[in-house]
């Protein structure tokens, strides 16, 4: 891959909002990358990072709503956002299909986030020229 040319990025977020700074740094990076003409292949949430796709966060009104900000960014820019299914099921993040399959009382996945397997991450690493990981900082 040539340096300094236009790139197709994959962002992997493994740190949870309101616990780590990862979702904020990733969003600032994502905005800056698009502003420079680069593209985002997809955003993949893994481990504790899947909490970013929760539809039920209600942070104090004077704090940023990271799930809502991320969801708006993904919609506005038609970037796919995918939460790893194995991480999500363990941590209580489900869409309506998983709700039915596991007979759970509700679903809490925030649109436009999707739930899919690690194959999405593998595909992304192959399709993009840069993969950046945003981990928790402690």
């Amino acid at each position: 891959m040539a340096a300094d040319s236009l790139h197709n990025f994959t962002l992997v977020i493994t740190g949870a909002p309101y616990s780590s700074q990862a979702p904020q740094t990733a969003l600032s990076f994502a905005r800056a990358a698009l502003a420079k003409g680069h593209t985002l292949d997809r955003v993949f949430l893994y481990g504790d990072g899947v909490h970013l796709a929760s539809a039920l966060c209600a942070p104090p009104s004077d704090e940023p709503h990271w799930p809502a900000q991320w969801a708006a960014f993904l919609k506005d820019n038609a970037v796919p956002g995918v939460a790893c299914i194995a991480s999500a099921l363990r941590r209580g993040l489900v869409n309506d299909a998983e709700q039915k399959r596991y007979e759970l009382p509700a679903c809490n996945l925030l649109e436009p986030f999707m739930i899919a397997g690690l194959g999405e991450w593998v595909e992304a690493t192959m399709a993009s020229s840069r993969v950046i990981y945003f981990h928790a900082g402690a």
Binding site: T25, H38, H135
Partner: protein, 93 residues
């Protein structure tokens, strides 16, 4: 900008085991980008990783460290993007 072989992006405080591991594998031709908690390394006097050091300005400012910082070039998020595309390879610690 000088060529960068591996750009090491570090977001852990200096005491974190992964921070120590990162510092121990830097090689000539690499560069180090400090983000989030890792910018605190610039408040510790003894930091000299032997490669070019960059630091994310918004993270420095948040921690009251933006003014008078020595030993690192400040970048904003756009500059961080440029570093990641300029480098041949990335490691996110």
């Amino acid at each position: 900008m000088a060529p960068i072989n591996t750009l090491h992006i570090l977001n852990k405080a200096p005491e974190h085991p992964r921070s120590l591991a990162c510092m121990s594998v830097l090689q000539s031709g690499d560069a180090l980008l400090l983000t989030e908690n890792a910018v605190l390394a610039l408040a510790v006097n003894s930091i000299d990783p032997g490669v070019p050091v960059f630091a994310l300005a918004p993270d420095l400012a948040a921690r009251g460290l933006e003014s008078g910082i020595q030993g690192a070039s400040l970048v904003d998020y756009a500059g961080m993007v440029d570093l990641t595309t300029h480098a041949q390879k990335l490691i996110n610690w």
